[in-house]
C-alpha cells in the first residue's frame, strides 16, 4: 500500500493549487451531467430564437429596438441569460448540499489540505470560468447560425456572460451558504434569478420599463452584461461607457468574493 507514498504532497497547497484541486470535483461531477447541458446550450437558444426572435420578432418594429432585427436584439441577452440560468444550477443546491451532513463535499474537503477559501475558489472557477466559456460559447455558436452577429467581435459576448456570472456567483454562494432550510432554496429563483432574467433588457430595451423600476434595472448584473454583450454582437453603443459597465460587474464580483469567503470560513469552522 505504500507504492505511491512518494506522490503525496505533505505540504499545504498554494492558492492556485488549492482552487484547482477543488475545481476538479466539479469537473468530475460535470462528467455525469454534461448531457443535461445540451438542452440549455443547444436546444434552448434555438427554441428562443425560433419562437421569440423570429416569431415574436415579426411583430416588432426594428426602430423600437435600436434599428436591429429583433433576433439581433435578443441574441446577446440570451447568451448572458444562459449564464444566469446555469448559476441557478451550479450555485444553489450544490453549495447548500456541500454542507449537508449526509454527504456534503465541503465537509469532505474540510478534512483534507484544502482550506475553505480553496473550496470557494474551486467552485467559483467552475461556475464563473468553466461553465460560461464552454456552455455560453456553444450558445453563441448556435446563435451564429441565425445570422445575428455584426462581426467577429461577437465572441466577446461570452466574456460579458462570464462577467455576469462573476458578479452574481459569489453572492449566490453567500446566500446558499447562509440558509439552513432547503425549503428556502427556491426563493433565489423567485426573487432573484427570475426577475433579473425578465427585467434586464434582454427582450426589450430597459428604458421602456417604468421609471420606478429603473433603479432595479441599473442594479441588475444581467443588464450591464447584456449591454456589453450587445455592443459586442451588434456593434451598438451601450447605455454607459463599457468601462463603467465592466467596473460595476467587477465591483460586485470582488465584494461578493470577500463576503462569500467570510461566510464559508464561518460555516466550516466547527
Amino acid at each position: 500500500m505504500s507504492a505511491t507514498t512518494a506522490a503525496v504532497d505533505r505540504t499545504a497547497p498554494g492558492t492556485t493549487a488549492g482552487a484547482w484541486r477543488a475545481f476538479n470535483l466539479q469537473l468530475a461531477l460535470f462528467r455525469h451531467v454534461w448531457h443535461g447541458t445540451v438542452f440549455t446550450s443547444v436546444l434552448l437558444p434555438i427554441l428562443y430564437m425560433v419562437s421569440i426572435g423570429i416569431g415574436v420578432g415579426a411583430y416588432i418594429d426594428s426602430a423600437s429596438v435600436g434599428g436591429l432585427t429583433y433576433a439581433e436584439f435578443i441574441a446577446p441577452g440570451l447568451i448572458c441569460s444562459v449564464a444566469v440560468m446555469m448559476l441557478g444550477n451550479d450555485m444553489v443546491f450544490p453549495v447548500f448540499g456541500g454542507y449537508a451532513d449526509w454527504g456534503g463535499h465541503y465537509l469532505a474537503q474540510r478534512a483534507t489540505p484544502l482550506r475553505p477559501v480553496d473550496m470557494l475558489n474551486g467552485h467559483l472557477a467552475y461556475a464563473v470560468v468553466f461553465r460560461p466559456f464552454t456552455n455560453c460559447t456553444i450558445v453563441a455558436v448556435v446563435l451564429a447560425f441565425f445570422g445575428v452577429y455584426a462581426s467577429w467581435w461577437a465572441a466577446l459576448a461570452v466574456a460579458a456572460a462570464a462577467l455576469v456570472s462573476a458578479a452574481m456567483a459569489p453572492w449566490m454562494h453567500c446566500w446558499a451558504s447562509s440558509i439552513k432550510n432547503d425549503a428556502n432554496l427556491n426563493m433565489i429563483f423567485r426573487f432573484a434569478v427570475m426577475p433579473i432574467s425578465l427585467f434586464s433588457g434582454v427582450f426589450f430595451p430597459a428604458s421602456e420599463m417604468p421609471a420606478f423600476l429603473q433603479p432595479l434595472v441599473w442594479a441588475s448584473p444581467l443588464w450591464h452584461g447584456t449591454e456589453l454583450a450587445r455592443a459586442a454582437t451588434a456593434g451598438v453603443a451601450p447605455v454607459l461607457p463599457p468601462p463603467v459597465h465592466i467596473a460595476y460587474l467587477v465591483l460586485l464580483a470582488v465584494t461578493g468574493w470577500f463576503a462569500a469567503r467570510r461566510v464559508i470560513e464561518r460555516r466550516l469552522n466547527f
Binding site: 503525496v8 504532497d9 499545504a12 454527504g103 469552522n269
Partner: protein, 317 residues
C-alpha cells in the same frame, strides 16, 4: 523504522466552548506513533469535538494542542495533508462512482491522476470493494460506504488515521469486516485514533484509551490497566424478570455487601466481585432469586459503565 516514542498529538488543558456550552473542559493526552488510541464516552461526552480539534477543522477555545509537533491554528492545512479522517457521516459523494470518489479525493492531496488511480485500485482491494468500483456510491450498503470512507481516508498514506465511530449504525457482519480491516491497519503500523461505543472491540484494538464524560477525561490507560484499576476481576449480571430502572435501583439496595460494588442498569444489576462463587453464595444466603445470573470476567464495558453508568441510569429515570 518509525520512532514509536514520537508523539504525534499532544493536548494540554484543551478546551472548546460553543457559546455558553463547554463541550471539552480541559483535557490532557498524548498519542504516540504506531499506537491505536481510543476515546470512549457516551454521546455528548466531547469525543467528536476533540476529534475535530485534532483534525484541524475546529479551533480550540483554550489550552494547547500540537499535531505532528505543529500548531493546528497556523498550520492546519499542512497537518491535514498528513492525516486520514473517517467522519461520522461518511461525506462520500453520492453522484460519483466508488472509484471516482477515491480519485477525486486523492486530488485534494495533490496526488497526480495516474498515481491516484493506482492507489484507489489498491485501496478498493484492501476494503474488498473492487467489484463495486464502477457503481455509484448511493447504491452501496451502509457497511460498504463505511469501508469506502476508510479506503478514502488512507488515500494519502496518512501518518495518523482518525475514525469517529467507525462502526456505529452497521449490522454485526459489516461491523466485523470494518474492525478486521482496522486490525490490518494496525498491524501495518498505521497510527489509529478512534472513538467508539463498542467496548469489546476497543478493548482488543486499542493500546491505550481514555474515557470521557461531560467534556473531561475521567480515566486513561491500557485496556488491562483500566480494568485492573476500576473494576474487579469478575462481574455477576443479575436480571429480575421485567424489573426496570427504578425497581432495579431499589433491589440494588438489598444487595449491599454481596460484591465490591453494585451497579444498577436499566435492565440488569451488575455486581462487581473478585469471586463470583462467593457472590452467588451470598445471594442464596439472603434468599435473593434473580431470574438469571451470569458470571463473567470484567471487561472494558464494565469500566465504562462503572465510570459513567450512573449518568445513564439517571438519564433513563
Amino acid at each position: 523504522m518509525p520512532n514509536v516514542n514520537e508523539i504525534l498529538v499532544s493536548a494540554a488543558d484543551l478546551r472548546k466552548s460553543y457559546g455558553e456550552h463547554e463541550a471539552v473542559r480541559g483535557v490532557d493526552f498524548e498519542i504516540r506513533r504506531g499506537e491505536a488510541f481510543g476515546f470512549l464516552g457516551a454521546n455528548g461526552a466531547g469525543k467528536s469535538t476533540t476529534m475535530r480539534m485534532i483534525g484541524c477543522v475546529s479551533q480550540p477555545t483554550a489550552g494547547t494542542l500540537t499535531v505532528f509537533g505543529r500548531d493546528p491554528h497556523t498550520e492546519g492545512a499542512a497537518i491535514r495533508a498528513r492525516l486520514g479522517v473517517v467522519p461520522q457521516d461518511n461525506t462520500l459523494d453520492g453522484m460519483l462512482t466508488v472509484f471516482e470518489n477515491l480519485v477525486v479525493y486523492a486530488g485534494y492531496f495533490g496526488i497526480k491522476k495516474k498515481a491516484a488511480r493506482e492507489r484507489a485500485a489498491e485501496l478498493l482491494e484492501f476494503v474488498q470493494l473492487t467489484a463495486r468500483a464502477k457503481d455509484q456510491v448511493s447504491d452501496l450498503s451502509g457497511g460498504m460506504q463505511r469501508r469506502l470512507a476508510i479506503a478514502r481516508s488512507l488515500i494519502n498514506d496518512p501518518e495518523l488515521v482518525i475514525l469517529d465511530e467507525p462502526t456505529t449504525g452497521l449490522d454485526p457482519q459489516a461491523r466485523h469486516l470494518v474492525w478486521e480491516r482496522l486490525f490490518q491497519l494496525k498491524h501495518r503500523g498505521v497510527s489509529i485514533l478512534l472513538t467508539t461505543h463498542y467496548m469489546d472491540e476497543a478493548e482488543q484494538l486499542c493500546d491505550r484509551l481514555v474515557v470521557m464524560d461531560e467534556g473531561r477525561i475521567i480515566a486513561s490507560g491500557s485496556p488491562r490497566e483500566l480494568i485492573d484499576t476500576h473494576v474487579t476481576k469478575e462481574v455477576v449480571e443479575l436480571r429480575f424478570g421485567t424489573a426496570h430502572t427504578r425497581e432495579l435501583a431499589a433491589l440494588a439496595q438489598s444487595l449491599d455487601g454481596v460484591g465490591a460494588q453494585i451497579e444498577p442498569l436499566p435492565d440488569r444489576i451488575l455486581v462487581y466481585t473478585d469471586d463470583a462463587d462467593d457472590t452467588n453464595a451470598a445471594l442464596d444466603a439472603r434468599d435473593i432469586r434473580p431470574t438469571s445470573v451470569l458470571a463473567r470476567r470484567a471487561t472494558l464495558e464494565d469500566v465504562f459503565l462503572r465510570l459513567t453508568g450512573r449518568a445513564l441510569v439517571e438519564d433513563e429515570a
